[in-house]
Amino acid sequence: MSPKATTKTTYHIPVGPIHPALKEPVLFEFEIDGERIVDVDVKLGHVHRAVEWASRKRNPIQILYLAERICGICSYCHPAAFALAVEDAADIVIPERAEYLRVIQGEWERVTSHILWAGVAAHEIGFDTVLFLTWQIRERALDLTEFLTGNRITKGIIMIGGIRRDITADMLPRIQKDLDYFKECYGKLGKIFLEDKTIKLRSQGVGILEKEDALKLCAVGPTTRASGVKKDVRVDTSYFAYGDLDINCITPADLTGTITGDVYDRIIQRLLEVKQSIDLIEQCVDKMPGGDIVAEPKIAKLLNQLKKVNGEGVGRHEAPRGEVIHYVKLDGNDAPFTWKVRAPTYNNILPWIPMLKGEQIADIPIVAASTDPCMSCTNRVGIVKDGNKYELTKEQLHKMCVEKTRRLM
């Protein structure tokens, strides 16, 4: 993947850092032969904000709120993985009710995130009516998030050793009402995405990730599952209350019977996961035991307890985009000695290369968007630079992508 000398027949197109597909910066360097992509190089780091370094002067409770700000969409996953890592290091036992509440929050975030992604994917191929439809549905999802946590985006809900807000019996009717609404929407969205001729033309057979590549390049989340690798932290391990719940690893084969690993499969994958998440929330509401929601309600006492810990722990959680893993080493000081964050997009960068090779320039936005990349999660220290060659701006690229859809129609 090192930059190769351009031969006479091919030419270079840099795309980014101001962005090809999503609304965040990353730089692609494409080697193009006519309309076909021959080689791809990805450059990262444009929004690196040194979050791990910032943690050196903060205590674990303060880091929870810092972790939440790594990414706006995964504002539950990062603090959750961090809390899991600290609990692992300090051997804190979490009350059973809190484990169920944590699942509900995690699954709700997945629904919100996947619906957002569905809108972005539709926008990339020029299907803007669907963007407005999905984001209207997402608005309702955010309202429920606000109802459950008190906030719409940065939720501030998780705490080391438990969770900060309970779900009481009088809240259940509203939750059930919204879940019913989402089941209805699920049917509608399924029909739009899976039966529409134009979406099929743009997504079937495009951006294929073979199962072998998914395994070798260590892809995670819906990206790897859409290629047929059964890897899902919720299924494979027992954390939160997932060990108690009835859950299976979903692949697109559950719906279509075959797996091709293309963009269409990744759309199916995410739609099926929305349905699965709603089902998991209902299971949790049914089975939730009573009791405390946090192991140690007094923050000062908890911090004191954490100060005595000498050890390391790892927390893994299945975020909407895949496995997020945090490593924490505590050494008896206020601040942790080391905190390492690994967001799912970090592992889904390399799979872009086999996906994009051989595709057309106009397919770049939808293929890149199909892994649901989140650059803020991946880069955590920043400075913007680079670029001045002939650039294909985001608008031009988006236009090309929309035009391809129009041609196909």
């Binding site: 070798k216 390049l217 494979d236 790892v314």
Partner: protein, 192 residues
């Protein structure tokens, strides 16, 4: 590339058909092969939920000389998923911890496998594992720029997250004279 002589289909079949080993069996397979090169083996189980189902984590320290062989052994035993490698500056040495998961794909049978290796600061060098696990590239590049570890034989040694004008010989995760201390006291000088 891992298992060079296998076709893609054979590789996938092999990985998927692998029979699951318990954490103890896993540890034994490594201890038999590498004996004293493997130290401080811990198996930790953590229960969660009402049913208290457990998930196991294996932590082991590997001697630098045997590291590449251990990875090779692991890939032949069962092709793992590499989540990430993290790093600690421990004063005289730099510790790298490779976080793997094995046995995935089956309900609650996954094992976390954390393999740590310590490198002396006088010669912080380690061999690449990209030839076995191509997905390790980004995390290895990150270790090079953040900790100043030299990865021998890495297919792409450019910076990954740090900008091109970031000073050479400064490594953000270090806690010694090569760390960031100098830079953030004089932020105005760094920015042109």
């Amino acid at each position: 590339m891992a298992e060079k002589n296998l076709t893609p289909e054979q590789f996938v079949d092999k990985v998927m058909a692998e029979k699951n080993l318990t954490p103890e069996q896993f540890v034994d397979k490594f201890k038999d092969e590498f004996k004293t090169n493997i130290k401080d083996v811990k198996i930790k189980r953590r229960a969660a939920g009402s049913k208290k189902n457990e998930t196991a984590s294996i932590w082991m320290k590997v001697d630098k000389s045997a590291f590449k062989k251990v990875i090779e052994h692991l890939c032949k035993l069962q092709f793992p998923h590499l989540a990430v490698a993290s790093g600690n500056d421990l004063g005289k040495t730099i510790e790298l911890i490779y976080h793997f998961t094995v046995n995935f794909g089956k309900r609650m049978e996954e094992i976390n496998l954390h393999i740590s290796v310590e490198l002396p600061k006088s010669k912080p060098e380690i061999e690449t594992i990209c030839d076995w696990i191509p997905g390790a590239l980004i995390t290895e590049r990150e270790k090079m720029e953040m900790l100043g570890v030299k990865i021998i034989g890495i297919p792409d040694d450019r910076r990954c997250f740090l900008p091109d004008d970031f000073p050479k010989d400064v490594y953000p995760w270090r806690r010694d004279e090569k760390g960031l201390e100098k830079l953030y006291k004089n932020l105005h000088e760094v920015k042109k």
